[in-house]
Symmetry: D2
Subunit: 457 residues, 4 copies
C-alpha cells in the first residue's frame, strides 16, 4: 500500500510544503520511504529518503523551493524490495521532456512489459513496476507527453492511482476498475490530488470529488480537464479492504465514509449473535476500535478501552533483541489492569492475517482475568493474496486459508470466534457488491476478459 | 514532569536493556531528553541525549554493557532550560565514591541551598536542582554514602521521587509528602523501581507495591531494605493531576487505578447535569477519551470517536512554519466528518490550561456541523502554578485564573462549560482529600510549618 | 580528472577492501566523490557518496562484502555537475545482464550520441558522459556483453581509461590515443587495474605494465586476455600534464617516472638561465617542490622549504567567509619567516592557470624580505582548454592565453618570469613529442581525421 | 601536547572565527579534540567536540557568535583518557563568576591537590589536571577572580601555558620554567595569545613577543598589563623537543626559529661523520625533512624526496583492519621508486621513540634497491619519559632506554646509526643548556628544590 499526493498552483505559489503536509496526512499508507518531485528549469528534481515523511524529507528545505507543481509519495513494503532506488516518485528526463510519477497500486502485467522493453534497449534503474510506465512512455512514437502517457496506460492492466508531473502540468489517473482511491481537492486556484480525502483538511483545501475509475485529470494553468481512458471496465472494483483496515476513518472514499463503514461492520457483528451477560467489549487498537464501538452500541454492552497501545513502543522505537522477543507482543499491546476481572471479553479486530497477534491477544486477555474471550472479526476471513497493491502474505501464510473457522478458533485459543460475510461487508460499506473488489476474501480476481487480454500475474 | 527508572540484578545479569525498555514505557512523562547511568570499575558512566528514548540512546549499545545496576531518566521541560547538560541522570565521582541520581519532582528550597554550597567552593555544572542533592552529599562530613544521602535529603524540601546509584547499590526514595509516584517491581531476583507501575509489564516484571512517602529503599545483593527519612509529614500530598492527565491509564498509583479514576471523573461530570437530547459525546484525544467514555456510559448517550488525532503529525514531525500556523490546530486534531451534523456535541477534555486548544476545538466542532458545543472538563479549573514538578504556566497565562467560568465559556465560544469540584476530584480518585495535593486547583501549597522551616519557593 | 580502480580475485577472495585502499592511493585524482561497484546474485550493487574516500565509503562495511570482483572511482569536478547521481561507478541491470563502469577521461562526441540514443527511447539518469557508454551497450543487437562493449567503444571518441564490471569478469580499456594512464598489477592470482601504478604498493601488489592505448583487457577466472579495439590511432597522445601536475610522483606512466620527469623539468629551467648570486630556490608546495629541487641541484643553488603549506587548512577545513577571504591565500601558503631576508628568491611552480596564486605568492615572498622574486614555471604556458578529461578553465580565464609572457610577468609582479618550451617538456618526460598530447599548451587537438569522423567537441 | 589560543577585541569585534582559524593553525599540536569558550550574559559557553578543528567545531556557527573575548584548545592524547568530558576548554560558573581555562602542559602535583580538594567537598567532573586549577580557584577565600587565579597558580607545579577567560578579561600565563611556548600577537586593538607564533599569520595579526616564564598577562578593555607570579625559578626549562619535533617550522619560540634549529640539527649530523660516496640524503616526511636538507647542504650530497607520504592515508582515513596491518607502514610511507637503486641511502628522522617506524623504514628503503641504509637521528636518544606535557611512552617502551646505540642499530637493521649529543642539540637551537629542558634525553627532571617543595610526580 502506498499514498500519492499532487499539487498544482495556477497562481504560481510554491506547493512543496503542501505536498509535505499532505504526505504527512497520508503517512498511515506507507512508512518505508517518502519522496517528492517537482520540475525546475525544464528538468525533474527529486528528493526522497527512507522512513517516515519527517525522516525522509526536510520540511524547511522543501518550503524554500519555488515550484508551483509537485507530486509526492509514501511507500509501504513493495514487491520491489526496500532499496532506496525503489522509493518513489520516479522521474526521468527523456527525449520529450521531464516526467515524474507517483504510483499507488500494482500492475498485473509488468513482467511481460519489462521484457518487451528490455529487448528494445531499455535499462531499468529499479525493480519497481512504476518504472514500466515511464519506459513505455519513452518508447512511444508520440512526441506529445500526454499522448505518450495515455498510450502507455492502455498497455497496462491492474491497479493504479497515479499522480504524474510534466514540465508544467499535473496529471491524475485511476485505473478503469477504480481499485485504489484517489480524490480531488481545491483551495482557491490551487488544485490537489490525494489518495484519501483526509489529506485536504491539513492544508486547508476542500474535498471536491473522487477521481473516477478510468478518468484522467489534466491540471494546468487553465484549470482541470477531465479525459477518459479508451478502456471500459465491465464492472467497478473498489477495494473493500480500504474501508476495513487501510484508510483513515476520517476519509470518504467513493462516496462512502470509512468511519461509518467501520461502525456498521461492528453493528453487523452484533446482529450476528448476542453478547453474553456480564461482558465488556474492547477493540484491538487502533484498527479494531471503531468496529468494537459499533458492536457495543448495537449490542448495548459497555465499551472499554481494554487494550492499551504504547505509542512510543513501535517498530522504529524498540529493536527485536532476544530480551524483547521474550517480552513478546506486550511491548505494543497491554491489557488494561483490573478491567477484565471476572468478565467475558468480546474483543474486536478488523481482520486476522497470520494469526499471531490474535493468538497472543486471547491469552493476554485471559491472563488479565477474563472468564471467557470472544473474538469478533469485522471482515470475512482473508483467504487469498491481493494482486492489486496490498502487501498480503501468500495463501500458505494466511491462517484462514489453512484452517476452517472452528480450527482457527482452537488455534488462537478463543472461546468463540465470529466473522462477517462478504455480503455483510458490502452492505456495511454501502456499495453494491459488483462495485467492490472482495478478491482477498472470495478469490474473485480480474480475469482474462476483464483485463482485455493483458492479464499476466 | 519526568520519569525515573532503576534496576538491580542480584544475580548479576545485565540490566541496561531493561532500563531502556522501562524508559520507553515512561516516555509519556518526558520527551525532551533521556539518559541512563551505571557504575563500572568504580566510576559512574552516563549516556544521555536529546529527544525520545530511541533518539537519545542506542538500544544495541546499552544491551552490550555488563552492568547489573543502573538508573534511567526521561525529561520533560524543566526550569533548568533545555541544554544538554541539564539532562539526567546526573553523576559524579567524588571523594566517597561514584554516585548518579535520576530525579522526578522539584525542590522548593534549591536556591537557598545553592548559595550556601557555592560559598563553600561548590562548582555547579548544571542549573538543575538535582545537582543540589549531589553537592549536598559531597559536603557532608560522613564518608558513608548512604548516610551522606540521608543527611542531604533532610535538608531539602519539596517534591522528589529519586533513583540513586552507588557503586554497587540502588536507592529509591520518595519525599515525605509523596508528591510524585514511585513503584517497586520484581522479576525473579531482580528488583526495579519506576515512576509508574505500567513500566513493569514491558520487562516482564510484577508490580510489588508503591514506595511510600518518606521511605528509602536500599537495594543490593542482599535484597531490599526499607528505611525511613527522619521527617514526618503532617499529611500526605499525592499529586491529583497525575490521575487527571499525566500518568498512563494502565498504571496504578498509591493503590488507585488511573483508568478507573478517569472514568469516574467522566461519570461525575454526567451526574453534574443532563446531556441534551440528540447529543453525542466525544473526548479530546487522548487525554479526554476515558472521561468522555465514563460520561457517555453514565449518561446513556452515544460515545463517538469524534475528534481524530493524526499520530504522525506532532511536534517532532511538522515544524511551525507560517503555512503550518495558518493551518492551526487542524494539523493535530480533526473532527470526524459527518458525525456531528445536526447533533449537540458534548466534548470532554481533562483540563484547560491556556485555553487555546479548547477555543479552537469548539469552533472546529461547530464548523463540522454541531448545533451546540458543550465543553466538559474532567477536573477543577487550574488556577495556580505547580511548584512540585509539573511545568504549568504562571497564573497570568492560566486562563481559569484570569476569568470566572462564565467568562471562560464566552472566550472559548462554548454553549455551555462545566467543571468538577475538588471534592469530586478526590472522590473520583478514591483517596481522602487530605492525602492528595490539589494546590494547582485551590492554591493550598505546602506551608512553612509543613516544610519544617525549609520553605523557600 | 578522475581515478579508476578494478580488482579481480581468481581465488575468490573478497576484494572490496583492496578497492577502498586503492582508491585512497588515487585520492589526489579526485576529491569530490568516491564509489565502488560489485556484482552479487546476478545484479550490480553500488555504494557511493560525496567527499573523500573515507567520507563517501565505509571501509568496515566494504570489508564484509563477499565479492571477488569490483571496481571503484574517485571523481574531481566534471562537466556533469556535482550532483550525487553523477558520481561513479555507474551501473545498470539491462537485458543482457549487470554492468558497471568507472571512467576517467572525456568523450568528445557524447552530445551527438546522446540525442541518437534518446530518439530510440533511452532514458538518461545522469548528465555524465559515462552513461552514454552503457546506453550504447544496451542498444546493441549483440547479446554478448563483451561484444556489446566493444561495439560501443568503436562509436565513441575522445579520452577514456575505463574499468568495467560484468557478472563475473573485469574489463579494462584505454582509448586508442592513450590519453589517460591505466596500469595493470598483480598479487598472487589476483589482478588489479588502476589509473596510476602508485595504487598497487598500498595493497601489496606488484606493477606489471601499462594497459596499452587501444587495448582491452578481459580478466576473469582464467586469467588476463588482451584484445585490441579495431581502431588504430595515427599517433599516441599520452597526456603530458599528468607528468607536470596531476599524477603522484611515485607513479610510473607509460614507462616514464613522474618523479624523474619533474626533476628534469626543474633542471631544464636551470639550464634556461643562470640564477642570480645570493639566491635561494623554493617550490610552491606541493606541486612545485620537485621541479624546484631539480632546478636547485642543476644550478648549484641552495634549495629551501621556503613556502609552508598548512595541511589542515584546506578547502574542506576552512570556509571562505568574509574574514577568510581577507586573509587570502595565507591560509594555505605561508612564507618561512627569516629565510628570504635579503635574498633573491627563485620560486618554482608547476604551472600558472588563472594566475591568482602566482600573483599572491610573489607579493607574499617580497613581503617576507626577498630583494627580488623570480618565477619559474616547470611547463609551457597553458593557453588552451583541455577536452580530454582535465577540468581547465576556458581560454578567457587562462591568464597565459590573454597576455604574452612579459605582460604576465607584470601582472603577477615578478622581477623575472620564465617558462619552458613544449620540446623541453617532452624531453624532460622522455617520450617523443608525437606520443604526447600537448594540446593545452599548443592547441594541437585531435582532428576530424584522427578521430575517424566522430569528432564533435 | 596541546595547543591554546586566546583572543580579546578591545573594539568589541566578534573573535570566535579568529579563534577557529588560530586553532586550525595549531592543529599539529593536537588532533583528538577541539573546543572554544566565550562568555555571554555573565556565564561561560563552551563548544567542543572530538576530532580535527573542522570536525569538532562549526566555523559558521562560531562566526555568528557576538563575543569579543574567547579562548580555544586543541588536544592531543592525555593522561585523562579520550572521553569527551576531558576535552578543553574547561569552564565553570562558580560563586565569583564565570571562568574557562585552556591548558597546555602537565601539572606534576595534581594528585596531591585533588585529594586535598576532594576532602573539602570538591566534585571533579573530569580526570584532567586542568580542572584542579578551577577547583583551587573556587576554594580560595578571595572574591576577586584574578587574585584567586594567582593564588591557585602558586600552589601548582609543573608545566603550564594557559589561556584563561573571565567575564570580560583574557589572561595568559606561563609557568616559572617556561616549559611550553606561549606567544602574544596584535592586530589593531585586538590582542591574541597562541601556543606558537605561526598562528598569528592566518588571522593577519603580528607576532609581538613570547609570554615570559612566570609572567601573567591581563588583557582587557584597557590593554595588556604584565604581572609576575611570586615564584622565581632557579633556571629556565624551555622544552627542547618543541624545536626537534612538535612545533611548526614557521614558528619562532623564545627567540629561536624552529626552521633554523632543524636545519642546524641536520648540519650538525653532517659534521659528525662524512657521507659515503654515491649516497643520497632523504628525510622521513614530514618530521625529518628539514634536518635532512640541512645535512645534505652541509655535506654537499644530493637531497631527494625519497620517501613519499600519502596525505590521504592517515589514522582517520584508513582503519587498522587485518588487511591493513599486513600492508604495514606502507600505507603511510612509500619509497620513491627508482631513486635508491644502487645508492647508499642516508635517511634522516627527528627522533626514534618505539623504533617500529625506524625498523620498517630501513627494510623498505633496502627493498627499494639501496645498497646500504644509514640512519641519522636529529636529536639525542630519547631515554626518559616526559612529565611536562608531552605524551611519551614509559622507559620500558622507549627503545633507546632498552638498548645501547649499537644494539639499536642492529634491531632496526641499519648499516650505521648516528645521533647527536645534548650539547649539539642546545647549540643547534641556539640557547644555553641551562635555559632548555632536555630531561627526556638526560633524565634531568625538576627536583624538590626547584619546585619549591611541591614536587610529586
Ligand atoms: N495487508 C496487511 N498488512 C499489514 N497489516 C495488516 C494487513 N491486513 C490487516 N492487517 C492488520 O494486521 C492485523 C493482523 O493480525 P494477525 O493476523 O492476528 O497477526 P499478525 O500480526 O501475525 O499478522 C489485523 O488486525 C490488521 O489490523
Ligand atoms: N502541565 C501541563 N503541561 C502540558 N500539557 C498539559 C498540562 N496540563 C494539562 N495539559 C494538557 O494540555 C491541554 C490544555 O489545553 P488548553 O488549555 O485548552 O490549551 P493550550 O494548548 O493552549 O494549553 C489539556 O487538555 C491537557 O491534556
Ligand atoms: N587543471 C587544473 N585544475 C586545478 N589545478 C590546477 C590545474 N592545473 C594546474 N593546477 C594547479 O593550480 C596552480 C595554478 O595556480 P595559478 O594559476 O597561479 O592560480 P589559480 O589558483 O588562480 O588558478 C598550479 O600551480 C597547479 O599546481
Ligand atoms: N612524543 C611523541 N609522540 C608521538 N610521536 C612522536 C613523539 N616523539 C617523536 N615522535 C615522532 O614519531 C617518530 C618515532 O618513530 P619510531 O620511534 O621510529 O617509531 P614508532 O612509530 O614505533 O614510535 C619520530 O620520528 C617522530 O617524528
Ligand atoms: S484483493 Fe482485497 S485488498 Fe486487494 S484490492 Fe481486492 S479487496 Fe482490496
Ligand atoms: S500543584 Fe497540582 S500538579 Fe502540582 S503536585 Fe499539586 S496537584 Fe499535582
Ligand atoms: S590538453 Fe593538456 S591536459 Fe588535456 S590531455 Fe592534452 S596535455 Fe593533457
Ligand atoms: S622532558 Fe623532553 S619533551 Fe618533556 S619538556 Fe623536557 S625536553 Fe620537552
Ligand atoms: Mg490491527
Ligand atoms: Mg489534552
Ligand atoms: Mg600548484
Ligand atoms: Mg617522524
Amino acid at each position: 500500500m502506498c499514498g500519492v499526493f499532487g499539487a498544482y498552483s495556477a497562481s504560481g505559489a510554491p506547493v512543496l510544503e503542501d505536498v509535505y503536509l499532505g504526505l504527512s496526512a497520508l503517512q498511515h499508507r506507507g512508512q518505508l520511504s517518502a519522496g517528492v518531485a517537482w520540475t525546475q528549469g525544464g528538468s525533474v528534481h527529486i528528493k526522497k529518503g527512507l522512513g517516515l515523511v519527517h525522516e525522509a524529507l526536510q520540511q524547511n528545505e522543501l518550503a524554500e523551493i519555488e515550484a508551483h507543481a509537485a507530486i509526492g509519495h509514501v511507500r509501504y513494503a513493495t514487491a520491489g524490495g526496500t532499496e532506496r532506488e525503489n522509493s518513489q516518485p520516479l522521474g526521468a528526463n527523456y527525449a520529450q521532456g521531464p516526467v515524474a510519477i507517483a504510483h499507488n497500486g500494482n500492475l498485473t502485467n509488468a513482467t511481460a512489459l519489462s521484457s518487451y522493453l528490455a529487448n528494445r534497449g531499455a535499462i531499468f534503474q529499479t525493480t519497481c513496476d512504476t518504472e514500466t510506465i515511464i519506459q513505455l512512455m519513452a518508447h512511444q512514437p508520440s512526441t506529445v507527453q500526454l499522448e505518450a502517457l495515455e498510450n502507455a496506460l492502455t498497455k497496462i492492466t491492474g491497479a493504479y492511482s497515479i499522480a504524474v508531473l510534466f514540465e508544467d502540468c499535473l496529471i491524475a489517473a485511476r485505473d478503469p476498475w477504480g481499485f485504489r482511491p484517489l480524490a480531488l481537492g481545491r483551495r482557491g486556484d490551487d488544485y490537489f490530488v490525494a489518495s484519501e480525502s483526509c489529506a485536504f483538511e491539513i492544508i486547508g483545501a476542500e474535498f471536491l470529488r473522487d477521481v473516477e475509475a478510468g478518468e484522467i485529470l489534466v491540471i494546468d494553468r487553465r484549470g482541470v480537464i477531465s479525459r477518459r481512458l479508451p478502456i471500459t471496465a465491465q464492472r467497478l472494483r473498489h477495494c473493500s479492504f480500504e474501508y476495513v483496515y487501510f484508510a483513515r476513518p476520517d476519509s470518504v472514499i467513493d462516496g462512502r465514509s470509512v468511519y461509518a463503514a467501520r461502525k456498521n461492520l461492528g453493528a453487523c457483528l452484533a446482529r450476528g449473535g448476542k453478547c453474553p451477560q456480564n461482558s465488556i467489549v474492547a477493540g484491538m487498537p487502533d484498527s479494531g476500535t471503531l468496529a468494537a464501538l459499533g458492536l457495543a452500541q448495537e449490542a448495548g454492552v459497555p465499551f472499554e478501552a481494554g487494550v492499551v497501545r504504547n505509542r512510543y513502543v513501535g517498530r522504529t522505537f524498540i529493536q527485536p533483541t532476544q530480551r524483547v522477543r521474550e517480552a513478546g507482543v506486550k511491548i505494543k499491546l497491554n491489557p488494561q489492569p483490573g478491567i477484565f476481572d471476572g468478565k467475558e471479553a468480546v474483543i474486536v479486530d478488523d481482520s486476522i492475517v497470520r494469526g499471531t497477534t490474535a493468538g497472543r491477544t486471547v491469552s493476554t486477555i485471559r491472563g488479565a482475568g477474563a472468564k471467557k474471550v470472544h473474538m469478533r472479526i469485522a471482515s470475512p476471513p482473508v483467504r487469498y493474496p491481493c494482486y492489486y497493491g496490498i502487501d498480503t502474505p501468500s495463501s500458505e501464510e494466511l491462517i484462514a486459508a489453512q484452517s476452517d473457522i472452528e480450527e482457527l478458533r482452537v488455534k488462537i485459543g478463543a472461546d468463540t470466534l465470529r466473522y462477517i460475510s462478504c455480503e455483510e461487508l458490502c452492505e456495511s460499506i454501502g456499495l453494491p457488491r459488483e462495485e467492490l473488489c472482495t478478491a482477498c476474501f472470495d478469490g474473485g480476481y480480474l480475469d482474462e476478459e476483464e483485463s482485455g487480454g493483458r492479464l499476466e500475474v
